[in-house]
């Protein structure tokens, strides 16, 4: 389906060009891939706040800081900066279903995930593409089990997430260099995990009854990164930033309910072969290890989520 309503730019979209002299002239000055400065088990700091959109029943805003490269000497062009993650979520409902809709004994959850056209380096279209629809389905899966739907028969709730700034799938330098890398959309994983967390906050803000607040977490098996460790052996990192890793072997995202110790959504991408086992893993259990780590990441996100909701409650109670 093509977008007939707008006059769109070229579908590929472009950033400002970077001329080769910048890249090639001085090896020192050539832009370098950002490196992961965090420990493998450390998450990025998260900013989460509810009540962004006053007109919605519930809303939340989530932000993951951009990874900085403190000792980079590369030219400070805006187009070279790496982005973090910025999501805003609005929840509309519970509200009555339209009259035309058939009877439903429980609430009908609709999720809608959309990248803003400017969210990623590669421009996105105005209509939802398959990636975005995929994210929507995953988000719905993650949330459906959390909401106590029986309390709202004949009603619907819409969760709408706009990705203002999305995680890159790979470092932009790889695009330029034409280096063949794994073309998988690794950025999606972080985005989905953020989506789950921010949707959870917005649903809580809307006052919809849930069994628990669900938090998203990502873990990835990456090959050889910077700090100290030997570069060959793959290792598991929490909350990976795809631009920081040259080679991501596999990634896993979970929607996790800490209170009930349940997973509502699990998605693994990539393949862990025999030779890609991490150092300290037991053969055959790598995927489980990945999932466990993702759960750990979700626990971290959960803590921030709880703190944000506490803050919301305090503000609300204070006002009342």
């Amino acid at each position: 389906m093509s977008d007939r309503r707008r006059i769109n730019g070229p579908s590929g979209g472009t950033s400002a060009p970077i001329y080769s002299k910048y890249l090639a002239k001085d090896a020192k000055k050539s832009p370098e891939r950002p490196t992961r400065t965090r420990e493998p088990n450390v998450l990025r700091k998260m900013f989460l706040k509810t009540g962004v959109t006053p007109s919605a029943s519930g809303s939340a805003y989530l932000e993951l800081e951009a990874s900085k490269n403190p000792n980079s000497t590369a030219p400070g062009l805006a187009s070279l900066s790496t982005s973090g993650l910025k999501l805003t979520c609005t929840v509309h409902g519970p509200r009555p279903l339209p009259k035309s809709a058939p009877f439903s004994p429980h609430i009908i959850l609709t999720t809608h995930v959309k990248y803003a056209p400017f969210a990623t380096r590669k421009r996105r279209g105005y209509l939802r593409d398959s990636t975005e629809r995929d994210l929507g389905v995953h988000l719905e899966t993650a949330l459906r089990g959390v909401i106590i739907g029986d309390r709202w028969p004949k009603s619907g709730v819409e969760v709408i997430i706009t990705i203002l700034e999305g995680e890159e799938d790979q470092w932009w330098g790889d695009d330029i260099g034409g280096a063949v890398t794994s073309a998988a959309e690794w950025g999606m994983m972080s985005v989905l995990s953020g989506c789950i967390t921010v949707a959870s906050a917005a649903i809580a803000d809307a006052g919809i009854d849930c069994v628990d607040v669900v938090a998203g977490g990502v873990a990835a098996a990456v090959k050889g990164t910077g700090t100290g460790g030997d570069t060959s052996a793959p290792m598991v990192v929490l909350d990976p930033v795809p631009s920081e890793h040259k080679d991501i072997i596999a990634a896993c995202i979970v929607g996790y309910l800490p209170g009930r110790d349940e997973i509502t959504d699990l998605w693994v991408k990539g393949e862990i072969g025999k030779d890609n086992l991490t150092r300290n893993s037991v053969p055959g259990s790598s995927y489980e290890e990945l999932a466990d780590n993702a759960v750990q990441a979700a626990l971290g996100a959960h803590r921030v989520l709880i703190a944000a909701l506490k803050e919301t409650t305090e503000v609300k109670m204070g006002r009342l």
Binding site: R38, E39, P40, N41, V42, L43, R44, K45, M46, F47, L48, K49, V52, Y61, E63, L64, E65, G84, K86, L164, V236, L238, P258, R260, D261, R279, N280, S281, V282, S285, E288, E289, D292, N293, V295, Q296, A297, L299, G300, A301, R303, V304, I306, A307, A308, K310
Partner: protein, 802 residues
């Protein structure tokens, strides 16, 4: 068993047996004391030496318990005193029931007392001496900033004093008496607690224990500042954040390395209290987020010093103590207004009163119209009419070709008879000159409509009345233009005789004879008009030429006789409408001296009154419907065709078949009690709504109503070729579309016998035929009625109903 049955079966005596309250102890005090003294002595004697240390009090107590049974008391005292004396003491103290009751009450009372004291001291501290003088809120809130009451001025809430839990008058040891169920529950709880306490050290799987571990683990991981490398984590394999998760290979996984979550820079912090943990992972909002959430939340509103105090609060002393004591400013204004405007008419009506008055007025206006059914005087109208000896009344219609000068002639007639005064004519003259039509001024007496005046032609029938010495006349000024023939028919149907106006101008006469002069003459003849006066008008323009007059007379009389008029009923008068010659006065023109006949008015007077169909049933075709004023919302005007009516009569309207009543009658704007055929009356009706009345409808007596017909047979004189086709049927004001369905036969003009073949296809002009006409809607028509058939804007036939 239902509860009320339990209550029903309750044996009160049985229940009260258990009660060991005051009644049992109501013995005589003196008697008891005596008994006790004697009993004590007896016991002392009976006590063995081992129990000699027993006090009198103990003895008395024992006695009291055993109802002064000495033997039992001794036995008890011996048994009690031997092992441990204190036990006896204790038991004795506890056993004294009446005392216990008193004591417990005392406790209660003292608690209450102390509480009251406490309360009063509290109150005293809070309100040191405010109770002595009345509290002034104005003073209290003076210089308090708006919406920012400082904390020291906010009120202090004190918890109310509740009585202790439990029942009043409980047991002696101060603990409230528990019911059996309560006791049971408490016992279970205690038991459970004990059990838990015992099992705690060993029960590793219990939830509580694991929760603790969980928390400490999270705390360690998040804030502990341990260098979390993989190898280090290997040493604490049991550190799990999700204790309840069921997994298949528990043992295997326990050995897995854990990468517990740590949040970026939290690792550097020293261990903090658990409350700090959640905030560890939170980032500061980015610049972008700050634009969304703003910075106002970070800087709370503060510094009440900057806020304004209420301006009037500064001058608080000047404000009256009770601002609502006197009348409000509004009250003062209203009072003044009512005094000034209404002149002591009392207080102005409030909104509600006004509304009520309005509604009452509305209801009054709405009231069903019950008064107007005027009582009939049951007059014998015909006898009255005979007694009245009124002047003759005559209607005449003025017909002629367009621009023959009909209206001008009538205007001149009215002007000369002083029906219209000179001022009015002068005004018309001025206005007509303004429009460039000065010659039309006289015509405007009858042509009242603005369109009629602007176009210079008469459109609708205009009526006016004038009186001569003998007769009162009603002029029906018919339009001459061919487009308004239906209106002319309506006028002609009411006329007793006709005045045909002919333009003497060269050419005009000839065109008129071909045009409406001829058509009108035929029409009035077919409408039953017998007598006709021909006014040869505008003879001044041809210099009063006698030749011209004679020529016209010859031609017209020949035509009229052919049309069926008798020659004795035809009169010719040479006139000048514009100048007024030979209308009311003889012409002074020397050129006109050849004419010595009567003037127009004289000739009108000569006309015999037409016979009135007084004894026939009432028929009245509505000429106009209007609102005759506030009293008479529905009025009609028309000429009574036949019969008579009087006030109070019930009438039937056809074709709607609705009944109505004559509320009042007017003739020439004079209220009358009755009216007869031939008179132009105004009827004020009641008991009917306007929607049932239409111009052209017929009013008749309910006893002898006119029938609505859908089809009729008529004997008609054809003016044009007549074939079965669509036509309009005119009968006075009434006109309705219809169709000639059949031509039955052509008839002989004089004998009325059938001529030629039956059912001819066409009727030639000038022949008489019998035709069947079907109407689209039923209309009131009856036998001797005269109808005119028109098609395509021309009169095709006229005739009589059969």
């Amino acid at each position: 068993m239902s509860r009320h049955k339990i209550v029903k079966n309750l044996d009160l005596d049985d229940e009260l047996d258990d009660f060991d309250g005051g009644e049992d102890y109501g013995y005589d005090e003196e008697e008891g004391e005596e008994k006790m003294r004697q009993g004590t002595i007896k016991v002392r004697e009976a006590l063995p030496p081992t129990a000699a240390h027993v006090t009198d009090k103990q003895v008395q107590e024992a006695l009291w318990h055993y109802y002064y049974d000495v033997e039992k008391s001794v036995k008890y005292l011996v048994a009690a005193s031997v092992p441990t004396t204190p036990k006896v003491l204790k038991k004795g103290a506890a056993g004294k029931k009446p005392e216990g009751g008193f004591i417990s009450f005392g406790v209660c009372w003292s608690f209450g007392q102390s509480a009251c004291n406490k309360a009063s001291t509290l109150a005293g501290a809070l309100y040191p001496d405010t109770c002595l003088k009345p509290f002034s809120f104005a003073e209290f809130f003076k210089d308090t900033p708006w919406l920012q009451v400082p904390t020291d001025r906010q009120t202090v809430f004190i918890d109310p004093i509740y009585p202790r839990l439990g029942l009043l008058g409980g047991s002696s040891d101060g603990v409230p008496k528990m019911s059996k169920l309560q006791a049971l529950a408490a016992a279970r709880k205690k038991k459970a607690q004990e059990q838990r306490a015992n099992s705690n050290p060993t029960g590793e799987m219990s939830r509580a224990g694991l929760d603790k571990i969980d928390h400490s683990d999270l705390g360690d991981a998040g804030v502990g500042g341990m260098a979390p490398s993989g190898s280090a984590l290997l040493q604490k394999p049991s550190a799990r954040g999700f204790p309840l998760r069921k997994r298949k290979g528990l043992d295997e996984h326990e050995s897995l390395p854990k990468a517990p979550v740590a949040i970026d820079d939290a690792g550097l912090n020293p261990p903090a209290s658990p409350e700090d943990i959640p905030s560890a992972g939170q980032a500061e909002p980015s610049d972008f987020a700050n634009t969304m959430f703003g910075s106002h939340s970070q800087t709370p509103r503060q510094s009440p010093d900057n806020l304004f105090t209420m301006p009037f609060a500064a001058d608080i002393a000047s404000i009256a103590a009770n601002p609502f004591a006197g009348p409000s400013p509004d009250d003062i204004v209203i009072a003044a207004q009512s005094k000034a405007g209404k002149g002591g008419k009392g207080a102005p009506k409030s909104n509600g009163e006004k509304k009520a008055a309005q509604i009452a007025a509305g209801v009054e206006a709405m009231r069903i119209d019950d008064t107007p059914r005027a009582k009939s005087k049951h007059l014998d109208v015909l006898a009255e009419f005979g007694k009245a000896e009124a002047k003759n009344a005559a209607n005449f219609v003025v017909i002629g070709h367009v621009d023959a000068g009909k209206s001008t002639l009538m205007g001149r007639l009215l002007y000369d008879l002083n029906v219209v005064d000179k001022r009015t004519i002068d005004r018309y003259r001025k206005e007509a000159e303004k429009m460039g039509k000065s010659s039309f001024a006289l015509a405007w007496v009858l042509d009242q409509g603005s369109e009629e005046r602007a176009r210079g032609v008469t459109i609708d029938i205009a009526t006016n009345t004038f009186e001569t010495d003998k007769t009162s006349f009603t002029i029906l000024d018919a339009p001459g233009h061919r487009d308004f023939i239906p209106n002319m028919i309506a006028g002609a149907s009411q006329a007793d005789f006709a005045v045909l106006v002919i333009d003497a101008n060269t050419g005009s006469f000839e065109s008129g004879l071909k045009g409406q002069t001829k058509e009108h003459a035929l029409l009035v003849r077919s409408m039953g008009v017998q007598r006709i006066i021909i006014v040869v008008n505008k003879l001044d323009t041809v210099g009063w030429a006698e030749d011209r007059f004679t020529e016209i007379s010859t031609q017209v009389s020949a035509f009229l006789i052919a049309a069926g008029f008798l020659s004795k009923n035809i009169t010719f008068i040479p006139c000048s409408g514009l100048h007024g010659d030979n209308i009311t006065r003889r012409s002074t023109e020397p050129a006109a001296s050849w004419y010595q006949g009567p003037t127009l008015v004289e000739e009108l007077d000569n006309s015999e009154p037409a016979g009135r169909a007084l004894s026939k049933p009432l028929r009245l075709t509505i000429g106009d419907i209007f609102r005759g004023g506030v009293q008479n919302p529905l009025s009609i005007s028309s000429r009574i065709e036949s019969g008579s009516l009087q006030v109070g009569d019930a009438l039937l309207v056809q074709p709607s078949s609705q009944k109505c009543f004559v509320k009042a009658l007017e003739i020439d704007n004079e209220p009358v009690d009755w009216a007869v055929a031939g008179q132009n009356v105004t009827l004020h009706l009641s008991g009917i709504e306007e929607q049932y009345l239409k111009i052209g409808d017929v009013l008749c007596t309910p006893s002898n109503p006119i029938q609505n017909v859908k089809q009729f047979t008529a004997k008609v004189l054809a003016f044009e070729f007549l074939t079965p086709s669509q036509i309009d049927i005119h009968r006075g004001r009434l006109h309705t579309p219809g169709r000639i369905v059949e031509i039955v036969a052509v008839l002989d003009k004089h004998t009325g016998a059938v001529v030629g073949k039956k059912k001819p296809r066409v009727v030639k002009p000038g022949l008489i035929a019998r035709i069947v006409v079907e109407l689209e809607a039923p209309v009131p028509l009856e036998a001797p009625g005269r109808v005119v058939l028109r098609g395509n804007g021309e009169t095709v036939a006229a005739g009589l109903l059969e």
